[in-house]
Structures are given as structure tokens and as C-alpha cells.
């Protein structure tokens, strides 16, 4: 572009296109959006007949380069966490690349910057989790004291998944432990008289964990025709829901064995 006609190395363009799709998927972007972004980027960088096939766990990109060969790459996606700011920035990056507002080196630099964007720190994300749990408890008919209990519990359990992830434990166990801890803490708080409505308190906290968005996205992917992604996301959501339920159910049973009553 600004360096006259110096052609972009097809393999570099391919790596870049795959990275665009990877960052998008790792940040919680939809399947079709990451495919479109990768194809648009590959096209803008001189690839012919670019194709991208993305699923929640991996992507394949291929195109015909200016050298007349077909180039392709596979990228595995191992971790996924919602980072909507990144999704928006990568989308904007792909657009400005297509519009010619960015050249290849500037775009690579920008993608590196986007990938380096940090999530919120522990204190800030705990505060957000506390607010989320507390306001959901109010929304589900809890009283102020229920909301405060939910907020405290939510802040505590929001620290669990990152700690478990650092120890390389699968999400399944994080959800299991978090579901059990959330339920048990709320039941204890109600017994001690801090909370009045166990249901509203527990639901408020569990809203932080339950894969409501994941279920909805699974159905959306399927509607959009990304059948494999839809089924994969559905399985992911089902396993999270199962883990949380098993954890919460175990906490209820333990509570009953300890002589507590189960709220009705």
C-alpha cells in the first residue's frame, strides 16, 4: 500500500488473518464474525478465494497467494473469555484494513496491541461480580440484606475460576466448586439471619456462573447456519450447567445432612 507495490508475503498475511479470527473467538466473538473478519483481512492482503472455517475450539484459514500457491493454516483455540472491547477493536481493524486506511505493518502492530489489552484486575472484577450478584438478587425479589449477602458471596466466588485456571484445572471443576460454594455460603448466611430469601440470594450469585449467554449463543450460531459451532457451544453450555447444578445440588444435600432445611 504505502510501500508502493512491495508484495506482502502470503504466509505472513495468512498468519495475520488467522490471528484476527483467533483473537476474535478467544474474546467471545461470534463464529461467523471471526470467519468474515479473517476472510476480509486475507482478501485485503492479496489472498484470492480466501476461506475460513471456524469453530469454538479451532480455525482453518486458506487462500491462494500471489505466488500461485494455496496457503493454509490451522489454529487451535484453548481459552475463551468474554472481552467485548477486543471484539469491537478487531472488527474495526478488519474494516480499516479492507478500506485501505491501514497498511499491513500498522495493522499487525494494532492487532498486537489489541491482544495485549488486559482484562480487569482482580479488585475491579470482584467489584463487578459483587454488583452483578447484588442487583440480580434485587431483580429476583430479594431484599436489601439478601443483595448484600449475594454481593459478598459473588465477590468471593468470582476469584475461584481464575485461581483454578492457573492450576490448569478444567472449567468443569471451577464451576462445580463455585456452584457448591455459592449455594452453601448463601444457606449459611440465611441460617445466621443475614439473608431472608435463600432462593433470590442463591440465584443472584449463580447468575454469575450459569451459561445463559452460552446457551443463547449456541442457538444463535445454529440459526445462522454454523451448525458445528452451535452444537459445540451447546455442549459447552450443557457441561457448565451440569457442573454448577451438581455443585449446588451437593451443597443442598450436605446442608440437609448437617440438619438444615431446604427452602421451598
Amino acid at each position: 500500500m504505502d510501500r508502493g507495490d512491495a508484495p506482502i508475503d502470503p504466509d505472513e498475511a495468512l498468519l495475520f488473518a488467522a490471528d484476527i479470527a483467533r483473537v476474535m473467538l478467544e474474546s467471545g466473538g461470534e463464529t461467523y464474525r471471526s470467519e468474515e473478519a479473517a476472510v476480509a483481512a486475507a482478501g485485503a492482503l492479496g489472498g484470492a478465494e480466501a476461506e475460513c472455517y471456524a469453530t469454538p475450539t479451532g480455525i482453518t484459514v486458506s487462500f491462494g497467494g500471489l505466488d500461485g500457491r494455496v496457503h493454509s493454516i490451522v489454529r487451535r483455540i484453548k481459552r475463551r473469555a468474554m472481552h467485548l472491547e477486543r471484539v469491537a477493536l478487531v472488527e474495526a481493524l478488519a474494516r480499516s484494513l479492507v478500506a485501505g486506511a491501514l497498511d499491513f505493518s500498522a495493522a499487525s502492530e494494532e492487532l498486537g496491541r489489541i491482544e495485549g489489552l488486559r482484562g480487569r484486575g482482580p479488585a475491579s472484577s470482584s467489584a463487578a461480580a459483587a454488583a452483578g450478584a447484588g442487583f440480580f438478587t434485587l431483580l429476583f425479589g430479594g431484599a436489601w440484606n439478601d443483595a448484600l449477602v449475594a454481593a459478598a458471596t459473588g465477590a468471593l466466588i468470582s476469584r475461584l475460576p481464575p485461581v483454578m485456571a492457573r492450576r490448569q484445572l478444567p472449567d468443569f471443576f471451577a464451576n462445580l466448586v463455585a456452584g457448591a460454594a455459592a449455594t452453601f455460603l448463601c444457606l449459611v448466611a440465611r441460617r445466621l439471619g443475614f439473608a431472608t430469601s435463600a432462593d433470590a440470594t442463591v440465584i443472584g450469585v449463580l447468575m454469575l456462573l450459569v451459561p445463559g449467554i452460552a446457551v443463547t449463543n449456541a442457538i444463535r450460531d445454529t440459526i445462522a447456519g454454523d451448525l458445528v459451532s452451535g452444537v459445540a457451544r451447546g455442549a459447552d453450555a450443557f457441561m457448565s450447567a451440569a457442573a454448577i447444578s451438581v455443585g449446588a445440588g451437593a451443597a443442598y444435600q450436605a446442608w440437609r445432612l448437617l440438619g438444615g432445611t431446604i427452602p421451598s
Partner: protein, 158 residues
């Protein structure tokens, strides 16, 4: 619907948007979508008695709101839609499903599980509807974008 419910829904949405790493102006905009959705869903559910119908309609409204903000802010609508549906997603349904099974009431559990899935489906369909509507309405813009494919004029003049 109690008067303050949309406020709690909006604040809960803002908290989730923060957890999803949105920042600045996007936070209140996303939260407004959550409030709006709840303000549509709760009275409709009371009027029709059907959670699926109410949530589908609310998702259409959230989707349109998301498309509007997305057009103004030049960001993907999904960013705002994903936050806006937070108060609607069936966390409560999953909880009650679990609770019924713990109490040994399998048939109620199964019914609740099915209703939960139906609600999630209704939200997805609502978002798909508003997405489709916005695509149909902006066909011309898309046609213009296709006309300006790579290899075309460098708009920045570099």
C-alpha cells in the same frame, strides 16, 4: 412489574458489561439495553402469561437498540446485544431445575428444564429477527461496501 425492576436490571447489566471488559460510554449504553429489555419483558409476561413470547419480544427490542447504538458508535451490534440480554437469560430457570431434582421432584425438574431451553431459544430467535431486519434495511449499504472490495481505491490516499 415493580417500579425499580428495570433499574436493577440495568445495573446488573452494567456489572456484567464491566466483567465482559467493556469500558467508558459503552457501559451505560449497554446497561440501557438491559433496562429496556426488562421493561418490555416483565409487563408482557404478566399480560400474556408466556415467558417465551415476552422474552422473544424483549430480545427484538434489545436487538434493535443494539443495532442503533452500533450504527452510532461504529461497533458491532453483538457487543451491546450480548449485554442487553443478560437480565433475560434463564439463570433462574436453571436454578429451579436443579432445586426440583434435589428435592426429588423429577417431573417438575424436566418441565422447568424444557421451559428454560424454550426461553433461551426465544431470546436467540428475537435477536436473530432484529439482526435480519437490520440486514434487510441496510442492503444498500452492504451493496456499496461490496463495490469497494480490496484492490479498489485507497480511501486514505496513502
Amino acid at each position: 412489574m415493580r417500579l425499580l425492576e428495570p433499574l436493577w436490571a440495568g445495573l446488573a447489566t452494567a456489572a456484567f458489561a464491566a466483567m465482559f471488559n467493556l469500558r467508558g460510554k459503552d457501559l451505560p449504553l449497554a446497561a440501557a439495553g438491559g433496562s429496556l429489555g426488562w421493561a418490555v419483558a416483565a409487563p408482557l409476561q404478566a399480560a400474556t402469561g408466556s415467558q417465551a413470547v415476552a422474552y422473544c419480544a424483549a430480545s427484538v427490542v434489545i436487538g434493535i437498540w443494539a443495532e442503533l447504538i452500533a450504527a452510532i458508535r461504529r461497533r458491532p451490534a453483538a457487543v451491546y446485544a450480548a449485554c442487553g440480554i443478560i437480565p433475560l437469560v434463564p439463570g433462574g430457570g436453571m436454578y429451579y431445575t436443579m432445586l426440583y431434582y434435589v428435592r426429588g421432584n423429577g417431573s417438575s425438574g424436566l418441565a422447568t428444564a424444557f421451559a428454560t431451553l424454550q426461553t433461551a431459544g426465544a431470546i436467540a430467535v428475537g435477536l436473530a429477527l432484529s439482526g435480519a431486519a437490520s440486514r434487510l434495511l441496510s442492503l444498500r449499504a452492504i451493496a456499496r461496501r461490496i463495490g469497494r472490495r480490496p484492490g479498489g481505491v485507497d480511501k486514505a490516499g496513502r
